[in-house]
Structures are given as structure tokens and as C-alpha cells.
Amino acid sequence: MASGSIDDKKFLTYYFSYLQKYLHNLEFENLGTSMKWIKFLLAALITGALAYFLTNPQNIKGTGIPPLGYLLDPLQGFWENQRDLLPTDPQIPGLKGEVTIHFDSMMIPHIYAENMEDLFRAQGYVVAMLRLWQMEFQTHAAAGRISEIIGADALDFDRGQRRKGMVLGAEATLGLFKKDPELWKALEAYSEGVNAYISSLTYATLPFEYKLLGYHPEPWTSFKTALLLQYMSDNLTGFDQDIEYTWMLKKLGKEKFDLLFPERIPGIDPTVPSDGPWDFEAEEIPIPEDIAADPMVITKLLEKSNPKNGSNNWAVSGTKTASGKPILANDTHLGLNLPSLWIMMELQYPGYHVYGFTFTGSPGIVIGFNEKTAWGFTNAPRDMRDWYKIRFKDDKQDSYWYDSTWRPVTHRIDTFKIKGQEAFVDTILITHHGPVVYDARFGVDNPKQGMALRWTAHEPSRIFKAYLNFNKGKGLKDYFEAIPFWETPPQNVVFASTEGDLALTVAGKFIHRWEGQGKFVLDGSRPDHEWQGYISPEHHARQVNPERGFVSSANQHSVDAEYPYWFFNSNSEYYRNRRINRRLTQMEGITPKDFMKLHLDNYSIQAEEALPMLLDSIKGITMNEKEREVYRSLTQWDYYYEADLKAPMYFNLWWRNIYKAVWDWLEDDDNPVAYPNTATTVHLIKTRPLTEFSPGKASMTQLFESAFREMVSEASDDQNWGQFKGTALTHLSRQEALSITNIHMGGSSNAINAQSKGHGPSQRMVVHLTEPPEAWVVYPGGQSGNPGSPFYSNLLPMYQDGTYLNVKLKTRENFNPEDIFLTFTLTPKP
């Protein structure tokens, strides 16, 4: 066995050396090849995973991150947007003649064309070049498509937009556009221009926000222009309190409701005051017995447009000016955003030469002047929306009760694309009143109930035609020919001409209502609750060359009670308008400079009317040192909301506390509430005992006193009014990093300079109607929508200081070469 074991050892040695050789071969021949593949595949996999991670949106702890590889790429990502991405070889297909575009030192385009279509092609092109993201975002918002961009957070907003009929309204308007060959040509040319710019884009030249949010622009269409109009109509007519008022009526009873929510209070100064009886009568409509439906529980109410959306405008005749020529002024108060709502430009083709402010998405100039005339707008608020309570036959919601029969419901299936998620499908029920906004799918528990909306913004509007005609107008006659086309949103259209004429028309598609109609929710089953027609444009309130030498408007009541039609608006302005009229009455020998100063007027009639009474009532109370100091500063205050003062902050806080204390008894956790407005509150305090409108309160003096002490304790020692108010220009995406906050400015929503936190004059214009006219313009923002451009907010310092750009109409030839920042010369391609 011993020798055997030696043999075994030999065998084992032999065996191991064989194994070694075998393994060696394996490594170099077979295993070697596998390793190579593994290494290659591993490297490829890591490269692929990195690429996938960097070119797809990520979600880190609920925060959406755009594709970082694209966004951060130094050669093509956001870095490229740190400068103005100006096309080196601009091209617009379809041009018939040569187009010259001079951009001046403020990046304002001056477009010179040989015909209308070329002009609007070029306008579409430059507006897209400067503001593409904004123009698309606004129309996406109107169409309820924000979830496509930012995800499910916007779904309720989007559903609300479509349920309230934004798309329906835009479709109706598009239908009307198509029937007007001249307007259709202008709109289609504009779209072609926008699309010429869009198709020239590469990822590198895409606007910053597309890179940040990780999506791409789609082609522009005239439908988007209709959506833009819908967006503006919603901004300006999208506020009503019908649902709230219906609950308040039930809670308070008619007498108390009328006390708290009067249609008029003494001392109002309507836009068009009656100077004697009107020369027409309104057709009588019988008032139904029940003017309101029973309130209905809605668990999810849509947000309404900002009730502060409004404006100032006025014009004075030559009798009141130093030059003997009229001067017109306009400033429109809207949400202060970046990019600014407005963009400025000059447009010219033979027979058409106009300069002013326009929307990003529609042809022509909205507010501005030409060689002979100037015009501007303020919102003419009136109740434009009514809610109809709908009773469905059963849970299927196929029919609803109307005029003692069951009428069929149209079901419109709407799909909502959502970023990063599956699409959502909603059904919108449509009745002959309009779309059912609230139903079992949205805010209502009872499947047999619904609330339909009827709104003038569901109907087509020809305002583009109206202002394109203002653009071309030569005088008063042209102005009045264009006015009937001004439908929705209704506006006070101010006008002045070099011939010396002034005019103001309360223009729009106004509902002819029976007295009280639509103040509360209406009954959708009753024919007598339906709209009975519209007020004929000949019956619109207007003023032409009035004796007082001026016309003005500031969203107050359009007319007084003498006007033959019933007027109702839940949101009238009470203070700015009276300040304007007071100043215009006093002023003589006016120069444009005086009006520029008047735009910056921070005087508040609200403070003038409320503060003396408040100070008087707490005169005798014992005060500590700080309270005495605050009291003293308030007694010395002259009611000007200047940024550097503290008194306006004290007054605002004090008034807020009083208002809360007076109306806290109306608070209701279960049902919607409307609160009386400030002017009514002041009026009631002055004329009625407190117990009549605020039960359970001890006395007025005590209420003022505790509100005063509370104010003193909460008022900051180191803030003045400007800091306290903190005006901001908020980027449309709501990202603070792209916004400008804490802008130090005076003003108040009750002053002509209507500045509040995120709201205020979104442009200012003064036009002197000399021959040719001269204008002064400014707005809080800049011509470029690119946050990386020097033109993003370069006009803000001027706006803040109350200075203006002085502008005149220029021709292609007489353009001062020193003012030219950039010129595009576009020629037709064979």
C-alpha cells in the first residue's frame, strides 16, 4: 500500500499540473473572452444608466427635477439663455414684400411692412422671439392644460377651467373669427409668424422655462389667440358672488342683506353721470316672484379672478391743457407678473401706423395711439355671470328639468394629460344654460343636483376687430363705428383725437336683466329666470366732449340709478374714481408731466373718509408711549400712501382689525360667505348704530380702541409702508427665484397709484394729442421674457421712480441710427 501511496502522490502531482495548465488555458482563451464581454457590458450599462438618468425627468422626494443632462449642458442648456438668443438669420416663409424691424435700445420692435399680412407675420415672429413661453403658457392656462406641464397638482385648476367653459368660449370665438375674412387673414398671418420662429428653434435656443420644466412648444394657431382672449375675459369678468349672496340671503333675510350689500351707497360718482333724463327707455321685463333658488351645498368652489383687476383712464380736452390739445392717460391694474402681461411695439404698413401696448398672442396694438387718435381701457365691471341650479332626472344625469319637461344633457368627454401620470378623463355636462361646473364629479354630493354657469364669455367676442379698427381710426366717427364690435370683456373705452375730440363709452355685451336677476343663484328649470336679451349698443352709456372738459373711469358704477336699465355689480370701485375726478376738476393748464405725476398719486379717499372718525373716537383713551406715538403719526398723516411713511401701515392694520371685528359674526365654516365691502362698512359705521349691522358688540368706541391697541402691538417698529406692503413681480410659474420681490413703492389699491402686494398698474401711458402725437410709456418689466436677458425687467427702475419713456411714431427712414440696437431685414424667398 506504501508504494501505492507514492504512485498516488505522483498521480496527484501530475494531476494538479494538468489542472493548472487547464485553468491557465481557460483564463486566456475561454474565460478571457467572457470577462471582456462582462467588462464591456458593465461599462455600457453604466453609460446607459447615466444617460437615462440625465435625459429623463426625475422625482426626488416629491420634487420634480427636469432632465439634468439637457438643462445643465453648458453647450446647449440653460447657460445659453444667459444672453438674448437673437436669431442670426431670421426667416419668415410666405412674406410678400420686404419687412424691416428695428429694435431700439429698450428692445422695443418697430416693424415696417408693405402690407397687412406681412406686418402681422413679423409681429407674430418678434413676439414669439421675445415671449414665446409666456404666450403659450397663458393659453395653456386658459385651456386647462397646466397639468401637462407641471403635473397632477394643477389638475383641479385645469378641470375648473374646462368646466367653467373656457374652451367652449374660445371655440365659439374661433367660429366667429373664421367668418370675418379680414380678421382671419390677420390672425393666420400672425400664427405663421409665430410658427416661423418656433420652427427655427433648437434645444439650445429654446426659452429658459421650457428647459427648466422639460417640455417643448407646440405650433401656434388662431385657436390659441381665441384662448388668449378667453384668458383676458376670465381675468376681467370672472368675479361674481352669486353663490355667496344666496347663502347670505338665506341667513340674513332680505332686509338685512340689502343693508349689508347695497347696490349703491350715497356719494358715488358714476363713469357716465346722467345729465338729465336719458333719451331712450328700456323694454320692461316682468320680475318673477322668486328671484333666487335655494342655496345648494358645494364642497369645492373654484377660485375666482382677482376682484382688484381694474384700471384708471381719463382724457382732458384742450380747454384744460397748456397746449390746447387733448391729453389721454391710461394705466391698467392687473396681477403684476414676469414676464409682463404687456409688450410694447410700433407697427406700420401703408395706411396703418400705430404704437403702444399689446398682448403676447394677438395681432395689432391693444392700448396705444396712431397719427390722429389715442385710446385706452378700464374694466367696466358688471354682473356677467349667472349660476343656474340644475335638477337631473336621475343618477345618469342624461336629462334635466326645464319648463315642465325633461331636456337632454350633452356629455362632453374631456381628457387631461398629466405630466408623469396617466391621463385623467372628466365628463362635462352641458345644458342650454351652459356647462355644469359643479356636479357629482366636482364639488356636489347629490348626483341629482348640479350648478350650470351662463357667462357672456361663453359667447363669441369681436374685440380684436374693434381694436384693430381703433388702430386705423382717424377720428371720432371711426371710433364710434368700431365700438359695437367691443363685446366681452366689457370696457370703458376712452378716446381722444388730434382734432380735439374726447369720448368714453361703456362698451360690451351687457345682459338686459330684470331687476335683481342674477344677484343670486337662479333656478335652471324656469324660463323666466333666463336671460331675456342684451342691451342694444345704442343704449350704452357714453360721453362725447362733455362740458366739464374731461372723461374718466376707474371701475366704479358705470351709471347712476337714472339709467333706464338695471345695473348690478358686486365689485364696484369707490375711491380712485373720485380722486381722479376731483383732481381733473381742479387742474387747469395741464401738461403731460402733470398726468405722469397723477399716475403716481398715492392719496386715499378711503383714509380721508374713515381715519378722522376713528381718531376722534379714541381721542380720550389712556395710551402708553408707543400708542401715543402711533396716534400722533396718524393725526399728522395727510392720507398719501408714501413708501417711506409708517402711518399708512398703521392705518391699514387698524382698519383691517376693525373690519374683522365688525364682520366676524358672519364667519361660517360650512357655507360660503360674502363680506360687505370697505366703502359700505365705512358708510354703515358713520350712519347706523353698531348693533344694527354687527350684533353682540359692546360699542363702536370700544371696538375701535381694541383694534387700535391690537394694531400697535402687532405693527413692526422697523418697517415703513413700502416694506410692509412689499410689492412683487411674480413669475408666471410662481417660482420665487424668477420673481422680483420687495419692491419699495408707495400706493394703495384705493389710490390712483393702485399698488398692492402682487397687483397694481401693469402699464402706464400718457398721450399728448399734438400733431403728430407724443406719448410717455412705461411698465413694470421688460420686453424680453427671458429671465437671463438684460431686457427682462430693465423698465422696472423707471416705473418705480415714476419716469417714462418718451416715444413718437417713426418711419423706417427717419429712425435715428443711434437708437437702433438691432435690425432685421426680411425679404420674400422665391
Binding site: 464591456f40 461599462a43 447615466l50 444617460a51 440625465l54 453648458p74 446647449q76 447657460w79 444672453r83
Partner: protein, 126 residues
């Protein structure tokens, strides 16, 4: 010299890729081709790709940040939880550099599937 050649080649390919193609993706063919054509060890290939794109990206991003006074880098950094803008420059550089590095590595391994790698001696000789 060889490394320098490789770096320059990847750098040039990256830039050309950027000029003729869409965003970001151009890094991958640039790195891959660079890794494939000039023979180095896999490790060197990775670093050449990484270095080439680092130089290009850092140079471009930093120059852009400085010459436009950080007008957007400041805003983007505020959006990214308030990171320092220079960190955004570095992150952008790193993301591109890593991608190009791995693409170059992949290119080299791809080559080695068909052509045996040179021995250390041979590599030094080249």
C-alpha cells in the same frame, strides 16, 4: 502624447457632436469613438474622456457664469435648494465628465472584444 491626443480627439468630437446633433447625447458617441480609436488602458480611457469633457464643460460654464454675471446661474442655483452657483458649474461639469468617461471606457472595452489589448510593454512602446 497619446493621452493628450486622446483628450484632444474626445474634446473635438464632443464639440462637433454638439454642433451637429441634439443636446447632451453627443457626449456618448464622442467618448465612445475617442475610446475606440486611440489605444490606451481602460483606466486611461476613462480619465481621458472625463478630463476632456471637464475642460470643455467647466470652461464653457464658468465663462458663461462670469461673463453674464450669473444672471441665470444664480436663479437656477436658487431653484436647486439654494446651492452656490459655482457648485452648479461643478455639478454640470461632473455629470458631463462622468458620462464621457464611461462612454470612453465602453469604447475601449468594445475594441478589446475584437483586438487583444497591448501588453504593458507594448503600451509603453507606443
Amino acid at each position: 502624447m497619446k493621452y493628450l491626443g486622446k483628450i484632444v480627439l474626445i474634446l473635438v468630437l464632443t464639440y462637433v457632436g454638439h454642433l451637429i446633433s441634439g443636446p447632451f447625447w453627443y457626449l456618448i458617441p464622442a467618448g465612445f469613438i475617442g475610446g475606440l480609436l486611440i489605444i490606451t488602458s481602460p483606466r486611461a480611457a476613462f480619465f481621458c474622456g472625463f478630463f476632456a469633457v471637464s475642460v470643455l464643460y467647466f470652461g464653457t460654464a464658468f465663462q458663461s457664469h462670469i461673463s453674464y454675471d450669473g444672471v441665470l446661474t444664480d436663479r437656477v442655483s436658487a431653484l436647486f435648494m439654494g446651492l452656490n452657483p459655482l457648485l452648479i458649474v461643478l455639478i454640470a461639469t461632473m455629470l458631463g465628465a462622468l458620462t464621457a468617461g464611461f462612454a470612453a471606457l465602453t469604447g475601449t472595452y468594445f475594441r478589446e472584444l475584437f483586438i487583444p489589448p497591448l501588453t504593458k510593454r507594448q503600451r509603453n512602446y507606443y
